[in-house]
């Protein structure tokens, strides 16, 4: 996938998207005129230096934030004019997330963290599905551990299990190995790609790790707030 590519079934599409923020020194342009498409089953990496706006773009594409201009379509539905609730409804059961800081809820066990999206999606026996997802990431013996009792790698595997538990069509991953050492990071990435393979979900990955980006179908680079194909 590259910019201006027009696949048959785009799960996410951005057209001339810009993002400005008001800061103490005046208006700051984070992203300018970004356009991209991501089809079902495609894996794309967005590369860029720290502070280049990668995570901001991910947030906009996932409907977690509103663009200052341009249009974003998620599963064929434009996000322009949709309020927070309607955007959330669009994500429900179809979008998964993996974050650099894992974002597991400390008061819930590994199993309960994975059950959360299933419960929200109204799955009848969420514990069974969540257990299966945790088995897939080889954490069957850590079901009732709290995040504080797990290592960083284990926490990220729980996050991957949570992301795939509701069989999403689209997965957003924000620096998934950013908090992990190289060996653990590799293992987590293997698992992420393996699970994606099984579900066939599209994956949009934000990273500054060239080796990780190399495993993706497409690579895009953000520089000065603009998107360009990566070498």
């Amino acid at each position: 996938m590259v910019t201006d590519h027009n696949p048959e079934q785009p799960v996410v599409k951005a057209l001339h998207v810009s993002k400005q923020l008001d800061g103490p020194g005046g208006t700051l342009t984070i992203l300018r005129d970004i356009s991209l498409h991501l089809a079902f089953g495609e894996v794309t990496a967005i590369l860029g230096a720290s502070g280049s706006g990668k995570s901001t773009l991910l947030g906009l594409l996932a409907g977690l934030d509103e663009a200052s201009s341009g249009d974003i379509e998620l599963f064929g539905q434009s996000l322009v004019g949709l309020d927070e609730d309607k955007r959330a409804a669009l994500r429900a059961g179809k979008v998964g997330f993996v974050f650099q800081s894992f974002q597991l809820l400390p008061g819930m066990t590994a199993l309960e963290n994975v059950m959360l999206p299933l419960e929200l999606a109204g799955v009848k026996k969420p514990a069974i599905e969540a257990t299966k997802a945790l088995q897939k990431v080889e954490l069957a013996d850590r079901l009732h551990h709290y995040p504080g009792q797990l290592s960083g790698g284990e926490q990220q595997r729980v996050a991957i299990a949570r992301a795939f538990a509701s069989q999403p069509k689209l997965l957003f991953a924000d620096e998934p190995t950013g908090s992990l050492d190289q060996a653990t990071g590799s293992r987590v990435i293997d698992l992420l790609f393996q699970m994606r393979e099984q579900t066939g979900a599209a994956l949009l990955l934000v990273t500054h790790d060239e080796r990780l980006a190399a495993r993706c179908d497409h690579r895009l680079l953000i520089k000065n707030g603009q998107l360009e194909p990566s070498a």
Partner: protein, 829 residues
């Protein structure tokens, strides 16, 4: 997905998650404090009412000059109420050739139904408490009788045709206060002995009384049954118709307890407000993740609401259970003080406990918690984004509303609740303002000291809102403790001062104008100090504003009784000491030649009399008419001669009058009374020492109850301080990890914590002390009508004590951070 099922699942997780622990704990403590106070005060109030009922020796009394119909006894029996009979009449005791006019009281075996009798086997012996009256053939008499007839216990005396052994000296009959207008000392005999004396015939002037006691509901039941069936001449007496000075003492006692409970509410609210912040902070992550995963605002809102309701319910029930246990232990420890088992509590405190839980939760947790639904999902990428702040107005209205409602429920007195609420609000505003100011002042000071000084002060400057919240929380806790100390020490002392040790305990009535000078000489000869001598006339109110009035003109019982009887009127140029004009103005010297009345305010309210109304009295057939110039509040428990209606000298001094006075007679000086009776045979002596003793006991027990209620509030305040310190735990933990990793030693970390918390404690103490004294002054002067003197000790203890206590608490809370390895703490965050 069914929201209730989802909420239940979340709630199950909430129960074991640490983020809710402090909120639940503070809510449990809040409800426990209020419930314990509620249960305890409920039982104490009932005990105090029972104790007050000892004045009647029963809960309810029917009295008549004729025997009381059997149907009244049968009805009492059918309701399982206890009954006793008494018969009182004046007669003469004869011993050798000496005689003495006495008030005979013949009582049935189970007398008294409430309270007890106190006797001495001989004049020098210790007082004993007995439950049963004298056996047939025996007589107990007051010390005054022994003195006047020079009797010793064991000697034989005659009463009518019967002979009695004077067995014991009666030092207190529960119902002494009842027979206010007695002509001589009281003697107690068994009811069975009456026929032997031959003194009671159908034509005799005797007073029959049927005493009734039992559970409150049945007594009320009986009272409403009897009220409509009372034959002519039968009177129904109960506590509210009893002596006004006693009612006053009881009202004050209840108000003290209400105030103590109210302070507990204040602490509880502040604790919950403090811990809510942490709850909201931790719950923001859950909300953001849920939003990310597609949950709508309304789903998050409703799931949270259901969880909060469940939380409120469980915490309230737990709090009620803890409160009940706490007061039970206390009540069993204190039962001796209240003369036996305290009466069981009513269901009301349970409702108060539940109400407190939910009102506190609604007022302090709901506004910020419900904003959690609006946490932006972008928080998962940007941690600095949180829930948008709740509307300040909503917060202010809900929390003040909740506080006001709780205070009103607890205090049961709008004025009292109003003053304390105002004091609290001013304190909160002052504390918030000071916190802002503090952060500003400290900013440049951080660069003037060493690293520990900088670290300590940066603890205060790191989060403006947190510092404001902590300072407010600590300040309110200290305010609560100090306010209660002021109440406990100063207000109770002021209350007890209203009946000084040497308050008049005897009244003299029917003093003829010719005897006034002689009586003065008698008193100065005996070294007895008189409280002042006042003219007294008896007259019946016949017209208000030219409208004739009768008992039928009023619905109210008290109004009917007041109109049916004659009032004691007096005249005076000056207002009496225990009186205070509350409406209109006193006539002063220039108006004393006019025809004016001054009316006691409660009487005026009952009879709907206002300043400017024209009253007409019938004074032995002579009409007296004048305008009401003012209404007076009377301290009935001052034990000075007091009057419902006072006229100007010009209006009343030319009418035939006699006089009244009161004086203090030390115990053991009863012989002087006998001499007084011999020298002034027309004068009637009224002994009120027994009722005074009873009021003193109510005060003492009321004070004791306040002391224990204070203990509960103290525990609540300690917990509130814990919540305040815990509020900044996360920040301190992070800082401790960094500082320890950089090599800061344990002592350094503790010193930095001490600088931070001692500064907070000193400031909170200073502000709270100022506000507590101002609030205490308002409560004392405006609500209780006492003079309030600033106690310098409260300032000293408030400021230094608070600095030390909060400093130590901060060090104790920081201690665990200094003993765990930084890496292990990192894993726990």
């Amino acid at each position: 997905m069914n929201r209730i099922v989802l909420a239940l699942r979340f709630f199950r997780r909430d129960l074991r998650s640490s983020e809710l622990r402090l909120l639940v704990l503070s809510l449990v403590i809040a409800v426990a404090a209020v419930s314990a106070v509620g249960f305890f005060t409920n039982r104490v109030e009932q005990a105090m009412i029972l104790q007050a009922n000892q004045v009647l020796a029963a809960d309810l009394v029917l009295s008549s000059n004729n025997p009381i119909a059997d149907s009244f006894v049968q009805q009492a029996n059918s309701l399982d109420l206890k009954v006793a009979h008494t018969l009182t009449f004046p007669s003469v005791i004869v011993h050798q050739d000496e005689t003495q006019l006495v008030a005979v009281k013949a009582v049935s075996k189970n007398y008294p139904l409430r309270g007890d009798l106190r006797v001495r086997p001989d004049p020098t012996a210790e007082e004993e408490t007995v439950k049963n009256p004298p056996l047939p053939g025996r007589m107990w008499g007051e010390a005054r009788l022994m003195a006047s007839l020079k009797l010793q216990p064991g000697e034989r005396v005659s009463l009518g045709e019967a002979k009695f052994t004077l067995e014991k000296i009666l030092s207190r009959d529960s119902a002494l206060g009842n027979s206010f207008f007695r002509l001589g000392p009281e003697v107690l005999i068994a009811l069975e002995d009456i026929p032997k004396t031959g003194l009671v015939t159908p034509a005799s002037r005797v007073r029959h009384r049927l005493l009734i006691a039992g559970p409150q509901a049945q007594v009320e039941n009986y009272q409403s049954w009897a009220k409509n069936r009372l034959p002519q001449g039968v009177r129904l007496e109960h506590l509210s118709s009893a002596r006004p000075e006693l009612r006053n003492a009881l009202d004050r006692g209840s108000r003290f307890l209400g105030l103590a409970a109210l302070v507990a509410v204040l602490v509880a609210g502040a604790t919950v407000a403090l811990s809510t912040r942490q709850f909201v902070e931790r719950q923001s992550d859950t909300s953001a993740i849920m939003r990310c995963l597609g949950a709508s605002q309304s789903l998050i809102f409703s799931v949270l609401l259901i969880r909060l309701c469940l939380l409120g319910l469980i915490a309230s029930l737990l709090g009620i259970a803890v409160g009940w246990l706490a007061q039970n232990v206390l009540a069993s420890l204190l039962s001796d003080w209240f003369g036996g088992e305290l009466p069981p509590t009513s269901f009301w405190p349970v409702l108060i406990g539940l109400g407190t839980g939910f009102i506190t939760l609604t007022g302090f947790t709901l506004p910020p918690a419900l904003r959690l639904g609006a946490v932006p999902p972008l928080r998962v990428l940007r941690r600095d984004l949180g829930a948008p702040p709740a509307s300040t107005w909503l917060l202010v209205i809900l929390s003040i509303g909740a506080m006001a409602l709780l205070m009103y429920i607890q205090a049961g007195d709008g004025k009292l609740a109003g003053w304390v609420l105002l004091g609290t609000l001013i304190t909160v505003c002052l504390l918030l303002l000071t916190a802002r100011l503090l952060v500003r002042i400290l900013a440049p000071m951080r660069h003037r000291g060493g690293p520990l000084w900088r670290q300590g002060l940066s603890g205060l400057a790191r989060d403006h809102n947190m510092t404001a919240l902590q300072l407010t929380g600590f300040g309110l806790g200290i305010l609560a403790i100090l306010l209660l100390s002021i109440i406990r020490i100063d207000l109770l002392a002021a209350w007890q001062r209203t009946i000084p040790d040497q308050a008049p305990n005897h009244f003299l009535i029917n003093i003829q104008p010719d005897d006034v000078n002689q009586l003065g000489k008698f008193f100065s000869l005996k070294g007895i100090e008189q409280a002042g001598i006042y003219p007294m006339l008896r007259a019946r109110l016949t017209h208000i504003n030219a409208h004739p009035i009768s008992p039928e003109s009023y619905q109210d019982d008290r109004a009917q009784r007041l109109v049916a009887r004659e009032f004691n009127l007096s005249w005076s140029a000056q207002i009496q000491e225990a009186n205070q004009v509350v409406s209109g103005s006193w006539w002063g010297e220039k108006n004393q030649d006019k025809s004016l009345f001054s009316v006691e305010v409660e009487l005026a309210n009952t009879l709907r009399i206002k300043v400017g109304d024209q009253l007409k009295f019938d004074l032995a057939g002579v009409p007296i008419e004048a305008e009401v110039s003012n209404l007076r509040k009377v301290e009935w428990d001052s034990f000075q001669p007091n009057f419902f209606v006072i006229g100007t000298p010009a209006l009343l001094q030319d009418h035939p009058t006699n006089y009244i006075t009161s004086f203090y007679l030390p115990p053991g000086e009863e012989a002087s009374l006998a001499e007084l009776v011999r020298q002034f045979p027309s004068i009637t002596i009224i002994d009120v020492s027994a009722i005074m003793q009873q009021i003193r006991e109510i005060m003492q027990r009321g004070s004791l109850a306040v002391e224990y209620v204070f203990l509960f509030t103290l525990i609540a305040a300690v917990l509130m301080h814990y919540a305040g310190i815990q509020a900044s735990r996360k920040h301190r933990q992070q800082e401790a990890i960094v500082l320890r990793t950089l090599g800061l030693q344990r002592s350094g970390l503790l010193l930095a914590a001490a600088i931070e918390f001692v500064t907070l404690g000193l400031l909170a103490g200073l502000l709270a002390t100022l506000c507590a004294n101002v609030t205490g002054w308002f409560v004392a002067t405006e609500v209780f009508g006492f003079q309030y003197n600033l106690n310098p000790w409260t300032v000293f203890i408030g400021v230094l004590g608070s600095g030390a206590a909060i400093g130590i608490a901060g060090i104790v809370a920081t201690w665990p951070l200094t003993i765990r390895p930084p890496l292990r703490m990192l894993q726990r965050i």
